[in-house]
Each structure stands twice: as structure tokens, then as C-alpha cells.
């Protein structure tokens, strides 16, 4: 079972990965967007980490709801509302339980992803974060490693696609050949689940 500590570690590991990969994300974004994805998410997840230390929410749902609210208040761009909605919806779906199963997390994350799809209007194949998130949710019941593999594969599979949503869509065919930065950061978020589950790494 996964408790509030696990979810705090998940957010801490995500913040650390975003810190580490920020330049890479911005580089991907300058190819097909406006060169700010890394620095924006970095600002957001740093705020998430700070808020979680200060407020110490007691349940898995409360951790993710607080994290989502922080992202909406600090990131800006499209990523703020989209990532914020993902975590807030997931947190709300987890309810008040003190511990949740992986299956419950998979179902809750599924409703978070639905929220992102509603807000952004994207589906799989549009070259967005959905390309990493949706396969990860489907794979999650097979474990965190399977979810990470699915998310990374989904992110890599965005390279040959033509963007149909967001700023990259203005490029049309010129977006082909570049991996989507949103799908790439989504894969970081999913990969952090695996690291959070192994406490030695998770406390990083």
C-alpha cells in the first residue's frame, strides 16, 4: 500500500528529475515551442517541494491536491493548468484514504488524465503529454517499472508525429522529427514513481 510519505517522495523525486533535466526540456521546447518548458516546470516543482515541507498534508489525496494547486499558481503557460489539473484531479479521486493501492492510484491517475484531455482537447497521437500519460496509466497495474517503460516509449514515439495542439502545432509539418517536451516531462513524472518506491533513492 502507498501512504502519504510515498506521495511526498514521488513529488520530491519528480522535482529532482525536473531540476536535472530542465535544460534538456528547454532544449526540446526550443525546437518546436518557445524554449521555456524546463524553467517553468522547475519553478513549479520547486514550489511543490517547498509547500509539501511546510504544510505536511496527511493523506495521499491531500499531497497531490496541494501539489496541483501549487503548479497552477506558479507555472503559468499551458503546462501550469494542465499539470495542475492532472495532480489535483488525481488527488481528488484518491479521496481521504490514508493508504491507497497501486490499482487505486491507476484509477485515480486515469481520471487525472481525463481532466487533462478535457482541458487541453488532446488525444493520443497529437504529440502532447497525453502520449506518455495514457499508456503509462494502462500499464500501471503491471507495476511502476512497466509504467515507466510505457511512458518513456510513449514520449519517444512522439518524435515522428506532427503536433496538433499547443504552440508546436503552428509548425505543422516542421514539428516532425522532434520529441515532444510535454510528453518528455510526463515520462519523468511517471518514472519518479519507481524511484519513490525504492526508499533509498526516494529520499534524494
Amino acid at each position: 500500500m502507498l501512504d502519504a510519505d510515498f506521495f511526498r517522495r514521488w513529488m520530491a523525486v519528480t522535482a529532482a528529475s525536473v531540476d536535472r533535466e530542465a535544460e534538456q526540456l528547454t532544449e526540446l521546447d526550443s525546437a518546436i515551442g518557445d524554449a521555456d518548458h524546463g524553467s517553468n516546470l522547475q519553478r513549479g516543482f520547486r514550489a511543490v517541494a517547498a509547500a509539501l515541507e511546510k504544510e505536511e498534508p496527511a493523506t495521499p489525496g491531500a499531497v497531490l491536491t496541494l501539489a496541483g494547486r501549487q503548479l497552477i499558481s506558479t507555472v503559468g503557460g499551458a503546462s501550469g493548468p494542465l499539470y495542475g489539473t492532472l495532480l489535483r484531479r488525481t488527488g481528488k479521486a484518491l479521496g481521504e484514504a490514508a493508504e491507497v493501492s497501486v490499482a487505486q492510484l491507476a484509477a485515480a491517475l486515469g481520471s487525472g488524465v481525463e481532466g487533462v484531455k478535457q482541458l487541453g482537447g488532446a488525444v493520443v497521437g497529437d504529440k502532447t503529454m497525453i502520449d506518455a500519460l495514457e499508456p503509462a496509466v494502462a500499464a500501471l497495474e503491471g507495476g511502476f517499472a512497466a509504467a515507466r517503460a510505457a511512458a518513456e516509449q510513449g514520449a519517444e514515439a512522439t518524435t515522428p508525429l506532427q503536433a496538433r495542439k499547443g504552440r508546436a502545432s503552428y509548425l505543422g509539418e516542421r514539428s516532425i522529427g522532434h520529441q515532444d517536451p510535454g510528453a518528455t516531462s510526463s515520462a519523468l513524472l511517471i518514472a519518479a514513481l519507481e524511484a519513490a518506491a525504492s526508499p533509498a533513492e526516494g529520499r534524494a
Binding site: 528547454t26 518557445d34 521555456d36 524553467s39 499558481s73 503559468g76 503557460g77 501550469g80 493548468p81 504552440r167
Partner: protein, 330 residues
């Protein structure tokens, strides 16, 4: 790339501190990133709130003041502001007559302003929205987020702001803002890429001797790349792209806008070429504005915006305005 900054992380806050010191007519909340006209809320008047990523100065903060915006919310460079900023701005400027959000059509801006509208409405503030989408370079299709908002934002903010200053109710101010947008079209050209402080290198790769036709105000590519053209050839291309989309019927307001790094010497010359093409096409120019108003950091290049006007819109355009970047009649 050399920039006149301290560190990339503080460029927006530093600029806000500088604006606060330069313009006593404004109240600048540096921490919460809201620029408000000092005399807000103005009793009986609808308030206009706009905002967007930083890097387009003087848009939007430079347009706060009498006869234009009541407040502006700057985001990080090229990143839309967050909902908390607009909700805070709306609360600061609402006189009870309601607030009009002027939103450029980018996914991030639209999402954040929509969330802000919900927050403001929860506080009992009446909110309406005008979406600006004037850029003809990127055509509407099933798959894009629609046309981008660029130079027409200035026209919408000025004219709707004048209507608000005359005491028009929210529905009227909103309708006038929409009318301005519907009658406006823009086309931009980049001669060089721009560099965001966070990245430090150009956001896109534009080889020497080439230009990007139809560029967006964040360096997003437009229609095509071509070998360098003359000012006259660029004016032909830009004006024709606009008139193809909006055949001329009425006289127009003309904005010839610099992207940030093009000298005024070049911009005036380009303006002469734009006027020549418009005369050739039989378009009467009622008023003209030439300068750097909707910029894209240090990008070299220019954009052309036309707004077809009627008597009412022209009267509102001519109405007094007093902001850092636009000031006449008072």
C-alpha cells in the same frame, strides 16, 4: 549573447521595479506581479485587465492607465501569467461595473484566464472576455489552436479602454472589443531569432541571409523561409497576406510594429513601403502608429496590423489616453 540583466531568474521582477520607479501613475506589486493604475477602481467604469508572457514590452504593462488598461499581469518570459495574478488584478480594479479580460489566443493564456475568471466570479466579480486572434500567418484548421493574437491587442485595449472610460456597460465594452478584433489582421516577419534570458541562445535557427515570413511574437515559425527580401518586397508580401484575408472596405488604423531589435530608421522606411502598397490597393489609412509596441525580446523584424474602422471606432481611437507607452489628448 550579452544581456543587460542581473540573473535570468529576476528579469521580470527587476523590470517591474524599474517600471514602478518610472511611472508614478501606476501601482506595481512586484511580488504578486500585478500592475494597476493608481486611481483604480474608477467608480462607474468597467475595468480592463490583460496580461501575457513577458518579453513583449511595452505590451501589456505599458498600456495601463487612463483610457486603456486598468491592470496588467506579466508572466515569466513568453509564459502566460497564473490565474492568481488575474484574480488579484480583477479584485483590485473592479468598481462593481465588471471586468473585461483581454486575452491573446495562446493555449496557455486562454487556460489561465479561464481559471482566473472562475476565481473572480467566485468573488462576485462580473467578468467578460475578448479573445484576440488577428495573425493571418497561421491559418485556422482542425488541428491548430487557431490564429495567434498579436498587434491587434493594442487596438482592442485602446478602443475598448476608451469605451470603458466613457462609462459604457460591460456588454458594450466587450462587444466593441470583439468588433475591433474581428476587423483586425496582422502579419509579421523575422530577420533574426530572439533569445530568452533563461536559455541564453536563439530560440530558433534562422540562417544569415534568410527571413521567416509570418513569424509569431515568440519566434514561432510562420508560413515559410525565403532568402532575404527588400523592405518593399516584404511590405508587398505582408500587406497582400492581410488583404487576401480581409478585403478592404473601410478606412483602416495602421500599426507598423517593430519586433524589438529593428532600428526605427528601418521601421520608418518599411512604413513608407507599407503606405505605398496600401495606396496601390486603394486602402485609405485613417490613423498610423509606428514603433515598438508588441515586441518579441531582441528579435529583428516587423509586423503590420490593419483594423478596419467605422466612425465610432475612430472616435474611440482618438479619445484621450494616458499610459507609459501610448499617450495623447491629455
Amino acid at each position: 549573447m550579452r544581456m543587460l540583466i542581473n540573473v535570468p531568474e529576476t528579469v521580470v521582477a527587476d523590470a517591474l521595479r524599474g517600471m514602478a520607479a518610472a511611472y508614478p501613475d501606476l501601482t506595481v506589486d512586484v511580488e504578486n506581479r500585478v500592475i494597476v493604475r493608481r486611481d483604480a477602481p474608477v467608480a462607474g467604469q468597467v475595468a480592463l485587465v490583460s496580461g501575457g508572457g513577458s518579453g513583449h514590452e511595452p505590451l501589456h504593462g505599458g498600456f495601463v492607465g487612463h483610457g486603456m488598461l486598468s491592470a496588467a499581469c506579466p508572466g515569466e518570459v513568453f509564459t502566460s501569467p497564473v490565474p492568481d495574478q488575474m484574480a488579484r488584478a480583477a479584485a483590485a480594479v473592479d468598481s462593481g461595473a465588471g471586468v473585461l479580460f483581454v486575452v491573446k489566443n495562446y493555449t496557455g493564456d486562454v487556460l489561465n484566464f479561464d481559471m482566473a475568471a472562475e476565481l473572480a466570479e467566485d468573488e462576485g466579480i462580473q467578468v467578460a472576455k475578448v479573445l484576440v486572434n488577428d495573425d493571418v500567418a497561421v491559418t485556422d484548421s482542425l488541428y491548430t489552436a487557431g490564429r495567434r493574437g498579436t498587434g491587434a491587442t493594442l487596438f482592442v485595449e485602446k478602443i475598448a479602454g476608451a469605451a470603458a472610460a466613457e462609462g459604457e456597460p460591460l456588454e458594450r465594452v466587450e462587444a466593441i472589443g470583439r468588433r475591433v478584433n474581428e476587423n483586425s489582421r496582422s502579419f509579421g516577419v523575422a530577420l533574426s531569432a530572439c533569445t530568452t534570458p533563461a536559455k541564453g541562445t536563439p530560440t530558433f535557427d534562422l540562417p544569415d541571409g534568410e527571413l521567416e515570413l509570418g513569424v509569431g511574437i515568440h519566434g514561432e515559425p510562420g508560413r515559410e523561409r525565403r532568402p532575404m527580401m527588400t523592405s518593399g518586397e516584404i511590405a508587398d508580401f505582408a500587406v497582400n497576406a492581410i488583404l487576401e484575408d480581409m478585403p478592404p472596405h473601410n478606412p483602416v488604423l495602421l500599426l507598423v510594429n517593430g519586433m524589438g531589435a529593428t532600428p526605427l530608421l528601418e521601421l520608418y522606411g518599411f512604413h513608407a513601403e507599407v503606405q505605398r502598397v496600401l495606396a496601390e490597393r486603394g486602402v485609405a489609412v485613417a490613423r498610423t502608429l509606428v514603433g515598438n509596441y508588441v515586441t518579441s525580446l531582441d528579435m529583428a523584424g516587423a509586423s503590420v496590423t490593419l483594423c478596419q474602422i467605422d466612425e465610432e471606432l475612430l472616435r474611440l481611437w482618438d479619445a484621450p489616453v494616458r499610459t507609459p507607452a501610448l499617450r495623447w489628448g491629455m
